[in-house]
Amino acid sequence: MIIKNKAVVSDDWTILRLSENETPESVTVPVGKIIVPLKVWQAQRATLQNRAERGVWLASNERPEELKGEVEKFDVIAVDFPKFADGRGYSIAYNLRARLGYVGELRAIGDVLRDQMFYMQRVGFDAFAPRPDKNIHDALKGLTDFSETYQTSLDQKLPLFRRVKRDGIATAGSTNE
């Protein structure tokens, strides 16, 4: 189960993580819907790109620009959060969407927890695989913690001050003592 478009849905993708003795060149990618590490994609692009369903994931220390010009090849791109406190994934997501033009499913994987998901959704994630020991229905609530935001990000192209008419001092009913 994952969260996608603000609902809990079933999921048939498998995330491939290399074990220590596997290399990107030699690992066998099983058939089916597999989200492969960036390195595996790069090493086996020739065969992987002929598959019907393609997915890739980026580690937090990998650069989204490595997928420049080919983001549209993927049904899903995932970004791994090795620890929830590692915030690089937020900028990776932003860059994938805003700079590289990716419009497909963008999934947060790894140490994904309820209390970070509001921010994740703002920078462009539309799918979340919360950590398996957590209740996914509980995690879903994290997407609605706030109903307003000040600044632009991926979900909100205009900052609050361009979107709404904000009360100034004259209309706020407060005097300038």
Partner: protein, 581 residues
Amino acid sequence: MYKYDVYDHQIVDERVAQYRDQVRRRLSDELTEDEFRPLRLQNGLYMQIHAYMLRIAVPYGLVSSAQMRMFAHIARKYDRGYGHFTTRQNLQFNWIKLEETPDILADLATVEMHGIQTSGNCIRNITSDEYAGVAADEIIDPRPYAEILRQWSTFHPEFAYLPRKFKIAINGAAEDRAAIAVHDIGLSVLKNEQGEIGFRVLVGGGTARTPIIGSEICDFLPWQHMLTYIESIMRVYNQYGRRDNMYKSRIKILVKAIGIEEFKRQVEADWADIKNGPGTLTVEELNRVAAYFTAPVYETLPANDPGVALYKTENKAFANWLQRNVKPHKIPGYAVVVLSLKKTGIAPGDASAEQMDVVADLADRFSFGELRVTHKQNLVLADVKQSDLISLWKEAAEHGMASPNIGLLTDIICCPGADFCTLAFARSIPLAKMIAERFDNLDFQHDIGEIELNMSGCVNACGHNHVGHIGVIGVDKKDGGEWYQVSVGGAQGNDAAIGKIIGPSFNFQQMPEVIDRLLHVYVRERLEEELFIETVNRIGVTPFKEYVYATPINVEDTVDKDAYGFIEKPDNYTVQRKSRF
């Protein structure tokens, strides 16, 4: 000052609700302590030695009388009747129960306050000039920009889990009173030759383990671009700042590692497609926010009040206070008054609930209902009529807030140290107290004149020791004892400099004598009218060093007299260092 509109209220109220639920989940063990820690930190809640500490944001140091009364209420209801003003112009309560924190934050929200992003690896409370709006040397009032930055940085989704904390300071006057050179980003508002307003942007300054002065990344950034340009700085830092070693994770280390030129190149590359985009500030928004910071309606008054002039000749104590604690105001007949929170015997920056109520009252009666918190941990009434000075002084004195020591030796900046802080190597509050007692004599202090003594309990340097004229810092000698290293020649402001360490460390009991010897060299060497820091700059550190170490400092290993109240046996005191935060 700024007032929340419906959006500000809604965002802060939703935050309280979110946090309340997080606390509930922590208490029911749905959240582990590791998962909860960053959440509570981003609401200002630290774990300290004895209890939780709650840090409340005072945006750019500005606080209304109603907010100050709320602090008093919180001090009484949830703490032990006092609070602590910090060098980052915030307020901390030291004896907080986790279960009560959602209610405290809900109470604060009713007066437009919160603890958002006062801790954690995110953009912290923006600090500014404590004399903004009234300083005679002001070029541009920085507060509207600080408020716009506050809103922009609040819950910025991309920058909530940075490699490390991130501090922005902004100054708009000729003299830098916001220490912009030792911040992650330091902004000075200025006007160019065409009369346009913009910022000089410094990046990568800081103190702590690697004290370093910020580098200029942009000499003139037109104000419209403030938010997008900072966004790009943040994005480069978020991606490339080190995360493997927390001592090397501040932006200053990144800037140093790749050089300011390369850093600037990366920032400008990132900026290219958002520059002039929708994040660009508008005149309407700037005007909307700036309208909250217009000057109050001043009366037309004579430049000098005859009553004050007369009373000054009759009352020495009042005259001393006028000299040290009252600053010139740009409007004739008005004055800026500093209320000292540095009475000898009190921890620097501490205020009791009663004092908070009193200052709220004084603000209402004498200064348009507003106060400022200074980075030197005092309070300021910025718009006082000179004709009110005598009554104000009497009332402040009655409540222990008229020590005429602003800028003098006992106006010490001091971090919480080992009495509260789990990271400390040594105590700092009792040391400040002991030094203040030794040099309590006011004539002596006036003779020494302006000097900044800054103290921290460990290498993190929360007490600004690196930029103190005299800096004191607790060091780890692995023997569990309390040792302090001393530096001289640091400075903040326009001539910011990092102090030089004079030599091997001293123990707690030796420290007052060390300070005494440093002052002795100054008195011996000074030219007429020369301040301590000027003498140091002229003659260098060596004469100080030689004299301090010339003869051993013998102190009887006297049992410290319960210096702060709750460390009962300081003689066999060992510093408690538990986990971080």
